[in-house]
């Protein structure tokens, strides 16, 4: 195996084990260098399989490049570098190391040419991301990480059973477009969707991610869900069910984010919302739609990381994360505020930001295919994104009431990471051409037409008007909103207590009855055999002779009849 055929993801995965050995600037330098080396590797790989090895009876291809793989590998590596820059002040090195194994595994999935390699990197991601979450070191993070890992290991088992069934039926391990028609392909799709945050288990995402540290959630937001988007684009383009799943996710994210008080949970729900747009695009399945889904995953990673860096900076400087405790921070955190607003505009697909040039392609694909309901729902959802993330996040964190908090902007490296990602959001939005050339299919779409810009401005501005007119209805309260995780966080434990309580009662009764029976036997035995018991006494010879006579007589009688 030469350097050329080394899986690019492994550079990060193995490099992660170097990080704990280094300190200070050396660690920061290596953390930025590793993604850069891997990026060079990704872009020097030729199209097609670069590494192929025999495994059991199969040929597995851990490294295989094409435009789609490169697009996702590139953004995962940019994210790893940007996240590392932001996280330089993080005291625990476990988090950064785990994040690099996590990011490297995501690159591994993006470059994998067969289902076995996909599965191996997929599981590595689950373990590494759990460690990222765990390293926050709080009791909440520990509990959340256990629920998180159980969900993902269950998803992994479903995926593995699917792969086994699929390979058994077809004899083919290569990873290419499938249709959900057999048990194997359905289970593979299900395994992918669990990681995408699809219903009915979307709740794992807002339950777990916001419990990570101020830097941990920046990494977590990028890899798991977007790797799921990648495998769905590769594996199930045009699977109609994804249109329905995606549209559900879009509105689920909006409604729950509108009710949420924790700033990072708002952003967690909005991940589900944004992935919903991508999943819908994959379900539509035309070249325009798949380009849109891939492009949106790319831009989403940048602006969502930016939003979470902005929220992470607030958390780092104030230690607070509830909207009810925040407000008025724009006065002392200008860089964080402006970068947060740029991220908020990008997620809202505001013209001249990255979200505008990517998401528009998904809506356009729905219009081209004359999917009226899907198009109307996507358009409503675009307005809803501005409502729940575009305005709500910056408004409640940086403006609204004055909380009296006057934290400064965070240290230079955190500011630098934010400014860099904000520049990418605007740069891609203003000059989309180079970005469009990275997409899997040739782009024939022109985002900047006068009607389109005007339409988007109308949609977003009137969504903004609705926000401020209905502000009294959105007053923040110290509440959470129940979700399907209630089933395993409340109902499950209560059932266990109830059933367990019942079992204990039955067990106690049975044992009490049994012991009582044993005691009675003992009492009788004591009465007959113990001390003065009838069988323990010394009998006279006459009594013995009488008893023997009776027994002999009885046996004689039995003999004759």
């Amino acid at each position: 195996m030469t350097f050329e055929s080394l899986p690019p993801g492994l550079i990060l995965v193995l490099g992660a084990f170097l990080l704990p050995l280094l300190r200070g600037r050396a660690r920061g330098g290596v953390a930025l260098l590793l993604p850069a080396i891997a990026l060079v590797q990704v872009w020097t790989l030729p199209d097609g399989p670069a590494l192929s090895v025999g495994f059991l009876d199969y040929r597995i291809v851990p490294v295989q490049a094409d435009a789609l793989s490169r697009l996702f590998a590139t953004i995962f590596l940019v994210m790893a570098a940007g996240g590392a820059l932001f996280a330089l002040n993080q005291r625990t090195v476990v988090e950064l190391s785990a994040a690099f194994v996590y990011g490297g595994s995501a690159v591994g999935v993006a470059m994998a040419g067969d289902l076995i390699s996909v599965f191996v990197f997929w599981e590595l991601m689950a373990v590494a991301s759990t460690l990222v979450l765990w390293s926050a070191g709080t009791a909440q993070a520990y509990g959340a990480s256990l629920r998180y890992v159980m969900m993902h290991l269950a998803g992994g088992v479903i995926l593995m059973v699917g792969i086994v069934a699929h390979v058994n039926a077809t004899g083919d391990v290569s990873f290419h477009a499938m249709r959900p028609e057999s048990l194997g392909t359905w289970l593979i799709l299900l395994g992918f969707l669990i990681n995408a945050g699809a219903p009915p288990v979307s709740a794992w995402l807002p339950d777990a991610y916001p419990e990570a540290s101020w830097s941990g959630m920046v990494f977590l937001s990028a890899f798991t869900t977007k790797t799921a988007v990648y495998v769905l684009i590769r594996g199930f383009p045009g699977a109609e069910i994804l249109v329905f799943v995606g549209l559900f996710m879009v509105f689920y994210g909006i409604i729950y984010a509108l009710l949420e008080n924790d700033m990072r949970r708002i952003l967690a729900y909005s991940i589900v919302n944004q992935v919903g747009f991508m999943v819908t695009g994959i379900g539509i399945g035309t070249e325009m739609a798949l380009n849109g889904a891939a492009a949106h995953a790319f831009t989403h990673i940048i602006y969502k990381a930016l939003l979470l860096m902005s929220a992470g900076s607030v958390l780092y400087m104030t230690g607070k994360r509830k909207c009810t405790d925040l407000g008025g921070l724009f006065q002392s955190m200008p860089v964080t505020t402006i970068c947060g607003i740029i991220g908020a505009l990008a997620i809202s697909s505001f013209p001249w930001t990255s979200g505008f040039v990517s998401k528009s392609m998904i809506s356009q694909a729905a219009a081209d295919q004359h999917l009226a309901s899907a198009w109307l729902l996507l358009t409503a959802a675009s307005a809803g994104v501005f409502l729940h993330a575009g305005i709500k996040f910056p408004w409640f964190v940086f403006f609204q009431k004055d909380s009296g908090l006057r934290p400064a902007d965070p240290p230079w490296n955190m500011r630098a990471a934010m400014i860099l990602f904000a520049a990418l959001c605007v740069g891609i939005g203003v000059f989309p051409e180079p970005f469009y050339r990275l997409l899997p299919f040739p782009v024939t779409y022109e985002p900047y037409t006068v009607p389109h810009v005007l339409e988007m401005l109308q949609l977003l501005s009137f969504s903004g008007l609705a926000f401020f007119l209905l502000l009294p209805m959105m007053k923040r309260t110290l509440t959470i909103t129940l979700d399907t995780d209630w089933i395993y966080r409340r109902l499950g434990p209560q059932l266990v207590r109830l059933i367990g309580g019942g079992l204990v009662a039955v067990d106690r009764t049975v044992r009490k009855t049994w012991f009582l029976g044993v005691r009675n036997v003992l009492v009788v035995a004591e009465r007959l055999h113990g001390g003065r018991g009838i069988f323990a006494r010394t009998w006279s010879t006459g009594d013995m002779a009488l008893v023997t006579l009776v027994l002999l007589g009885a046996s004689l009688a039995v003999f004759y009849f």
């Binding site: 002392s332 081209d368 358009t379 006057r406 009607p451 005007l454 969504s463 609705a466 909103t481 129940l482």
Partner: protein, 87 residues
């Protein structure tokens, strides 16, 4: 822009009532201009409804209002104290 006024200090210019009033007036003028511009610029309508006047304006407003009301309704059923799972 950094004007860290302490307690009792003068309010930041952005949060003074006069500025807020100005923002509302400017904002409404901007919305009116957007709707006005719609009379001159016609995009390609793919379905019937998106060809109606100022479609994106009224549709954006109406659907957002509907989503806020829907969230409020769902909140009545599903909202709990934020220490719900801790106790």
């Amino acid at each position: 822009m950094v004007n860290a006024s302490g307690a009792g200090g003068k309010k930041h210019w952005l949060v003074r009532p006069s500025t807020i009033k100005g923002l509302w007036v400017g904002g409404i003028a901007f919305l009116a201009a957007l709707v006005g511009a719609g009379a001159f610029v016609h995009g390609h309508a793919y379905f019937e409804v998106d060809g109606s006047f100022a479609f994106y304006a009224w549709y954006g407003f109406a659907t957002c209002a509907a989503m806020v009301v829907a969230a409020k309704g769902l909140g009545i059923l599903l909202k709990r104290r934020d220490d719900y799972y801790d106790v």
